[in-house]
């Protein structure tokens, strides 16, 4: 069977499963819709969190980015896993004990203020929309290559699917679909990785294969070989990287703290029964995430070595089938500058003739390694699972922010449960349409946009929540000022140095402290902390009953069920 047929079959089966689960677990109340009824087991929650977490960026782009960035790519590996330690130790158990539906719920109640709630809602919306745009784009990329439709049609198909199960099932539908999606995506990621690891090093475990000797009888270590190939072509050594230490440090910190501050991740810990379940499911989630995250750097090394071996200094007309396939999508470009018919791949921009988009490394990897057709199709199904599961989780946060935090808590407090459920469904629908628009007209390539969402989350939520739990005397004036300053500073830096909204994008030598926009979230977070703590000193302390709430959330027993008031 051809790759095409296999893709239709596998994608068709997985989509049927997702829709089946969505119908079976549709939401009957707002509690079902926001927190899946509050009775999800730690294992199911861990799996759902992992699928929610591992986005199109993790599945499709990350290994590719690492393949081209080498050591510099470590920022994503450490950043997107280390945040779970912060989440498990500093946030999840206490937020679960607090027992509300959304992150703005916590901010609004802990800081006894409608203004704080509204600021938090806007932060949640900005963060989630930035993030979801990247997901829809990822869906489009996968559809366009494997189903041979254009990227925009791909985005629209993706929108319809997500719309179906997010609107119908809410958090309950999403959680159980995500459990299935985790299985699909991890299987789809591991199978080709194991195949290629055996092919190149003889070791079936990619994590070890990466550090083994090559299978060709030379006795050279794979990483040594790749370092050699990279320097030969004029690039930096693969294991060294070229970013400054301070920038690597700042990006890693921004991604870690951002992870812990992302509303769609935090909200997952509201769905379990007890505080100890929240801790445990954070551990399970990270374990399941780590399987992919420790494999990705191995895939990066395999793919990069394979790519260089296949294309470098080879005649264009002898290129394999996959080369032509990816040229059609525009993600792989060959420009024969010296007209010798040979592909010159080098770090020198003037002579380099090959441009490879980060995104295709994982998708093209099985083809480059000449794996069977069903494996290639499996990767397509996995990429879709990753993108859809994250998009659905984000849409839920967006719809809950609007229907619960704005409509129910601010505008129409008398709305009935049924009415609120319909409002939630309606806002999910609107959110899908907006996300689809961003997917079709993306503000940048997938991972860049996603990385900035972390900066925004780090700059706004993390300090407010941590201070809210660990510092009883933190008051509303301090928290609100901190959030506003943090997120504004981050937005300003993004606009100036990344998006070019304030005139031409300045040279990287003008970065503040030498820190890139991706890493600036850590600076904005520090600013948030400083502003919060300073303003707090000059304003009245929080009322006694709020300080009592803080005492209560520090004790794990008696969490009960999440409630509205």
């Amino acid at each position: 069977m051809s790759v095409q047929t296999w893709t239709y079959i596998l994608v068709g089966i997985t989509f049927a499963i997702y829709i089946g689960i969505a119908i079976w677990s549709r939401a009957g109340s707002t509690k079902d819709f926001y927190i899946a009824g509050g009775g999800v087991s730690p294992l199911a929650n861990g799996m759902a969190t992992a699928a929610d977490w591992m986005s199109a960026a993790s599945f499709i782009s990350m290994a590719g980015i690492i393949a081209f960035a080498g050591y510099d790519g470590s920022v994503y590996l450490m950043g997107w896993t280390g945040g779970y330690v912060l989440l498990a130790l500093l946030l999840a158990p206490y937020l679960r004990k607090f027992g509300k539906f959304t992150v703005p719920d916590f901010i609004g109640d802990r800081y006894y203020s409608k203004v704080a709630r509204i600021v938090a809602v806007f932060c949640a919306l900005i963060v989630s929309f930035t993030y979801v745009a990247g997901q829809m784009r990822g869906v489009g990329v996968v559809f366009s290559r494997f189903l041979e439709v254009d990227i925009n049609t791909g985005v629209i198909i993706g929108m319809i699917i997500v719309l179906f199960y997010a609107v119908l099932g809410g958090m309950k539908g999403i959680t159980y679909t995500q459990v299935a999606q985790y299985c699909v995506l991890i299987f789809a990621f591991m199978v080709p990785a194991i195949f290629i690891s055996i092919q190149m090093t003889g070791n079936p475990i990619p994590q070890l294969g990466m550090g083994s000797t090559l299978n060709d009888g030379s006795g050279t270590y794979l990483l040594e070989k790749l370092n050699g190939l990279s320097t030969e072509l004029g690039f930096a050594e693969y294991t060294s990287g070229s970013k400054s230490i301070i920038d690597v440090f700042a990006i890693t910190l921004a991604l870690m703290v951002g992870t812990a501050g992302l509303p769609h991740v935090i909200v997952r810990f509201f769905t379990v029964k007890r505080v100890k379940d929240a801790r445990k499911s954070a551990g399970i989630a990270l374990l399941l995430i780590a399987i992919l995250y420790t494999t990705a750097p191995a895939v990066a090394v395999f793919a990069k070595t394979n790519l260089i071996n296949t294309v470098s200094e080879q005649p264009y007309r002898e290129m394999p089938e996959w080369f032509k396939n990816w040229e059609v999508t525009g993600l792989l470009k060959f420009d024969d500058k010296n007209n010798d018919g040979i592909i010159n791949y080098t770090s020198d921009k003037g002579n380099n003739e090959l441009t490879v988009d980060n995104d295709i490394m994982v998708l093209a990897n099985p083809e480059i390694a000449d794996l069977p057709a069903w494996v290639i199709a499996l990767v397509a199904a996995g990429g879709l699972a990753a993108a859809l599961s994250t998009a659905a989780g984000l849409l839920l946060v967006i719809s809950a922010s609007v229907s619960h935090d704005l409509i129910k808590k601010i505008f129409i407090p008398t709305i009935s449960d049924k009415g609120e459920l319909w409002a939630a469904r309606l806002s999910a629908t609107v959110a899908v349409v907006i996300a689809g628009y961003f997917g079709i007209n993306p503000p940048g390539f997938v991972a860049a946009v996603v990385a900035l969402a972390f900066g925004l989350a780090a700059a706004s939520f993390f300090p407010a929540i941590v201070l809210g739990i660990f510092y009883k005397k933190m008051n509303k004036e301090g928290a609100i000022a901190g959030m506003v300053v943090g997120i504004s500073l981050m937005l300003f830096y993004m606009a100036k140095f990344k998006l070019g909204w304030l005139g031409e994008i300045p040279d990287s030598s003008e970065w503040w402290f030498g820190i890139s926009p991706e890493g600036f979230g850590s600076v904005a977070m520090v600013a948030n902390f400083i502003v919060s703590l300073t303003i707090m000193r000059f304003t009245p302390p929080p009322p006694q009953e709020v300080q009592d709430i803080v005492e209560k959330i520090r004790i794990p027993s008696g969490a009960g069920e999440a409630t509205q008031h």
Partner: protein
């Protein structure tokens, strides 16, 4: 327990909790920011198999330690909950 005892129990529990957090987060910092970033170049002079040690910490080792840290935390806290009667 009367109210005052309850209060004391709660603050003793919180103190121990914060001490655990401090220790675990120090390890978290050392394996990632320490071994994987700040001292990466120095550790790279040590080679284990095909891996330079600093590079290994940045792309593999730190992640393994993160997973272990959370499960250690879960165990410690479950014990602590029992010790102070907050288990359920």
């Amino acid at each position: 327990m009367d109210n005052q005892e309850k209060q004391q129990n709660a603050s003793a529990y919180w103190k121990e909790n914060v001490r655990y957090l401090f220790i675990l987060l120090s390890i978290w910092f050392v394996v990632s920011y320490g071994a994987g970033i700040l001292f990466k170049d120095a550790l790279d002079s040590i080679q284990i198999g095909g891996f330079k040690l600093g590079f290994w910490f940045a792309q593999q080792g730190s992640i393994y330690v993160f997973v272990v840290l959370i499960f250690v935390y879960v165990r410690l806290m479950n014990k602590l909950d029992k010790k102070y009667g907050y288990d359920e």
